[in-house]
Amino acid sequence: MHDFESSRIEHGRFKRGFSKLLRNKAACFGGLVILLFLLTAVSAPLIHPKNPNVQDIRHSLERPSWNNLLGTDELGRSILGRIVYGSRISLTIGLGAIALGLIVGVPFGLISGYFGGKIDFIIQRLTDIMLSFPPFLLALGLVSVLGVGLKNTLISVGLSSIPYMIRLVRGVVISIREQVYVEAARAVGTSDGVILYRHILPNVMVPIIVNTTLGMGMAITFAAGLGFLGVGVQPPDPEWGTMLGSGRSLIFAAPHVATFPGLAIFMAVLGFNLLGDGLRDALDPRMKA
């Protein structure tokens, strides 16, 4: 019954936001790009039935042609096929990392902001420590501890997003905590847990959603960055950043090997950023006239 109620609230607010979003051309474009990537990821075997990791040295480094729309890499694998399957990896890392950030960051942010005092101090100092590293360096450091591979890339990118999520949520909670309706809820005997879940969390949802969308682009860039440096997803798995890295040495001989994965990263990140910006404009109450 709680879910029913809260879904109804979200519904009303998001209906208004959605129509505003549709009027924003850039955001629609971003949404379309993401939708395209999602469809690609889901239907990868339909688009490219062949295993993207099977090598065919006879056809290595072919230029884009009708046989291979985006050409082949140094081991003769279709770049289109690898980008198509790579979208699965990139989206998995993006979603997984952000989910990790949410699962850890939101509760800690809520607790830190709502209770204040010693708990807040401890959580915030730990956050400070994490924030004192540039986020990419933090992810890189974590990967060097955890080891390479898809799972560890996901975990380290996710972990490095946690302090930002904590700070974001905490800031909003602090402003909501002082609202009279929170005091009123306490005055009728509502417990802290219920106040956090029912009164404060729904008010924090909008910034969380916006930040999650923008964070997806960030997570994909980070994952690609780690792949490019050779400490992310390992070959032969077709991760975009890894592909970009292996194409780097061939940039003059066969520019298409590095260019197309780069374009894929660029488009995915652009899509998430445009959609995130649009969502912020559409949902942020401060932007409402």
């Binding site: 005092g117 309706y181 005055a187 009728v188 005997g189 509502t190």
Partner: protein
């Protein structure tokens, strides 16, 4: 009234630890409220009225505030009560209405939902029953089309309606004591009158006591049977409404009453213009020695600057803290 009071605050002291230091917001406040009685608590902004009310429900921030003294509700001391016992009392036996109806309701929950929450919490009713009860409460506070209103979000209600909804929420568990903290300050005059009438009416129906906190003496005259005047964190005078209004003893109370504009009384005997109390309330950091009112008092004597006057009991419900009455 003659038997044990419903609420008895004894020597309440509230101090806040803030960045600049320690401030004493409430200093040695003692007051009683009998069952079914309406007591007015008046004073200027910042004199400790709201802090007193919040300390009854123990809603002050735990880390930065300190409460000393005793707050006996039905014989139980709320100052030592545990969090779960307090939660049980809040909204159930003691309810509170806040000053700002525009911000007292959560914008993302329906009005009905917020009332149901209190009902389910304290009455252990199912959602269906709580829903019926919530609509009943909205009907009781004379909200038109209560079924439809219950399903709406606060932004669709006007200020007066929201305050009614707040009252409905506060009264949904039939409290024995209602703390009304400036319940009509944010409303326009016609709505004020309606809300007051409604509160009177509900008080009769439910037999609850009300602690009416306000700076509006007209409101007190209309609703309360007894008045307590606070100044700079202290109770300085108490009396039945008739006594206090006809014969204010403390110079501050006199000043308060003198500063009310009265229609048509402009040029009558000796009252040429609106009187004012000179000066401002002293800062909590910088209280004058002796009587806290001595810097503004027209009758100030030497003793006032030296020592605080004792509380002088003049009758069962008549007391004043002033050297003028001490001799």
């Amino acid at each position: 009234m003659n038997d044990t009071p419903l609420l008895s605050i004894q020597n309440l002291k509230v101090t806040f630890q803030i960045y600049e230091g320690v401030v004493q917001a409430v200093d040695d406040v003692t007051l009683d409220i009998g069952t079914g009685e309406t007591v007015g608590l008046v004073g200027e902004s910042g004199c400790g009225k709201s802090v007193t009310a919040l300390s009854i429900l123990q809603l002050l921030p735990r880390e930065s505030s300190r409460i000393d003294g005793r707050i006996l509700f039905d014989g139980r001391n709320l100052v030592d009560a545990g969090e779960s016992e307090l939660r049980n009392l809040r909204g159930n036996a003691i309810s509170m209405i806040f000053q700002e109806p525009m911000t007292s309701l959560n914008p993302v929950l329906t009005v009905g939902r917020q009332i149901e929450e209190a009902i389910m919490l304290h009455q252990g009713l199912s959602l269906t029953d709580a829903r019926i009860r919530a609509v009943d409460m909205l009907r009781l506070v004379q909200i038109p089309a209560p079924e439809a209103r219950a399903r709406e979000y606060p932004h669709r209600l006007s200020g007066g309606m929201r305050q009614r909804a707040m009252i409905a929420m506060a009264l949904s568990c039939r409290p024995r004591l209602l703390l009304a903290d400036e319940p009509t300050t944010a409303l326009d005059v016609t709505i004020q009158a309606q809300i007051l009438e409604l509160m009177e009416d509900l008080k009769e129906k439910l037999g609850m006591a009300i602690l009416l906190i306000t700076h509006d003496l007209g409101l007190i005259a209309q609703m309360a049977s007894r008045v307590i005047v606070m100044y700079a964190g202290q109770v300085i005078e108490e009396g039945l409404v008739t006594d206090l209004f006809h014969d204010p003893l403390h110079p501050y109370t006199r000043g308060l009453l003198g500063s009310i504009p009265v229609l048509g009384r402009k040029f009558t005997a000796g009252r040429r213009q609106l009187e004012e109390i000179p000066g401002i309330v002293p800062s909590l950091f910088d209280m004058p020695r002796g009587c806290r009112f001595n810097l503004r008092c027209p009758h100030v004597m030497d003793v006032c600057r030296e020592k605080q006057s004792p509380m002088i009991q003049l009758g069962p419900h008549r007391r004043v803290m002033c050297w003028l009455k001490a001799g």
